[in-house]
Symmetry: C2
Subunit: 299 residues, 2 copies
């Protein structure tokens, strides 16, 4: 089955202590869409400006991403630039130029309104709701978010949560949302806000799922060297949704394995700048790491 993915389609200028990479293809939708494309057909919903490089359209096409929902708008593409510290964990934003994303409003062509799997990637919660309202009873809807929306659009986010099946956030955001330090206490409170499935991302410590079948502790693939973690969270949730859409059987029967596929796809994302390493990855590379993770966690 197909996955519809909405989020930002951006240009990222990323600085690390070792290198500087201007105007890479980035944004939550780009990372999630490429990650999901390893497993299922993807329909991208987003907006880019007149300066959006043709080579990035070709990159989407190479991954067979359906661009019927991608709007080409007058103005400049959303541009983020940031800098990582030596430990690659702390980053600071150098500049954010919203460009076309400031007025972007997702419009779904008819053909996209019946897609069964929906990933509301990280973008303003009002836009996530707007996409949902244009959909025709999707089978499974997951939303991702970020601290920015907890700070400036909490009401919208709280309106979104009862309308989705799964919510993905990182541990510091879960703490911010619930005021609970303990991750399992936080999860309990987040379930009460609506979602049946809550997934907490913990970076290199892996992730935790809480769903109708209880908890799942999902490992991160052991990386000895991180080149650029930008987009890893988007790749995780994109890979997860792509795998879920490809799998036969119930969500509960597949979601653990889907998280592991997401985790492995995210590991490749971290090994190059922007989408450089992800786009070079083959499905067989992913399968190999999933098998390794199986061995690394058995006792």
């Amino acid at each position: 089955m197909s996955v519809l993915i909405v989020g930002t389609t951006a240009l990222d200028s990323i600085k690390t202590p070792k290198a500087e990479n201007p105007r890479l293809l980035g944004g939550s939708a780009s990372h999630a869409a490429v990650a999901a494309s390893f497993f299922s057909p993807v329909k991208l919903v987003g907006g880019v400006g007149e300066d959006f490089p043709k080579k990035y359209i070709e990159l989407y096409r190479k991954h067979k991403i359906d661009l019927a929902g991608l709007q080409f708008l007058p103005g400049k593409t959303f541009h983020w630039s940031g800098e990582y510290e030596l430990n690659m964990n702390n980053r600071r934003t150098l500049a954010t130029e919203l460009g076309v994303i400031e007025t972007f409003s997702p419009k779904l062509p008819k053909a996209l309104q019946n897609v069964p799997f929906v990933l509301l990637g990280n973008i303003a919660p009002a836009l996530q709701i707007s996409v949902l309202e244009q959909m025709n009873q999707p089978k499974f809807v997951v939303a991702d978010s970020m601290d920015l929306w907890l700070n400036i659009a909490l009401d919208d986010l709280l309106r979104l949560l009862p309308r989705i099946d799964g919510f993905v956030l990182n541990d510091s955001e879960a703490h911010q949302l619930t005021k609970e330090d303990n991750v399992f206490a936080a999860i309990k409170k987040i379930h009460k806000l609506g979602p049946k499935y809550v997934i907490i991302k913990k970076g290199s410590h892996g992730s935790v799922l809480s769903g109708p079948k209880g908890f799942f502790i999902c490992p991160a693939y052991p990386l000895h060297h991180v080149v650029d973690p930008t987009g890893a969270g988007d790749s995780f949730v994109g890979g997860m949704m792509g795998y879920l859409a490809s799998a036969k059987g119930s969500i509960d029967a597949n979601i653990r394995r889907a998280m592991v596929y997401g985790s492995v796809t995210a590991s490749f994302c971290c090994e190059g700048f922007g989408l450089n390493a992800t786009t070079k990855t083959k499905r067989a590379d992913i399968e190999k790491r999933v098998k390794e993770l199986e061995k690394l966690t058995r006792f």
Copy 2:
């Protein structure tokens, strides 16, 4: 088989935002010995002062811990007092009264010199070496440590590392020792200092083993409420060594499962002040959580 455990035998006064508990039984050897006692006979090596309460001797005896290596010394028992913040992750030391531990020197009775499994619990590395030098070719030796020894006794620690089989430390100590932010890069450097097995503790994120058979990602048991984490790391390594000493077959065949048993034993430790929850635990409670962890990590 038996496990010999050396470390501190202390009185801990622990303050949390919710309660104050003076002069609990504590110290690395006490926590590790009780944890190991669920699985194997334990020989304790340590030193206490004249003020050491009789009820704590009875507690050791209840766990069938052999006290032939426990010295009763003139002076006061080592006393630590500390305070935890609301999130139970950050703690600060309020006072440290070394007492008899200042001049304590482990002396092993003949009967203890042939014990096959040795846990050099957290205590000055010079004392850990002194115990090793009194032993007669033990089968498997693991040492634990803490940031204090990295700061004030690094040379002794570096002399110890080539003489042990396994080294256990937490992620911030691994970073401090190797200057590597990436935990897997740090592990590589620690192997070069001697130990064939390196175990990195990551608190509620679990732990990672690196050994001759590769990595193992060991989960932490999901706790919804932590009462007092003091001694959790000692319980982890104590439970692990106790299980290893009880298991048939090679170290490599058993060490993953041993870490899971250690992890579960540590989870009980966190559910009460000092050793309160651990001493109430039954082997069957441990088995139940180990089975749960198996289910929580399978995909």
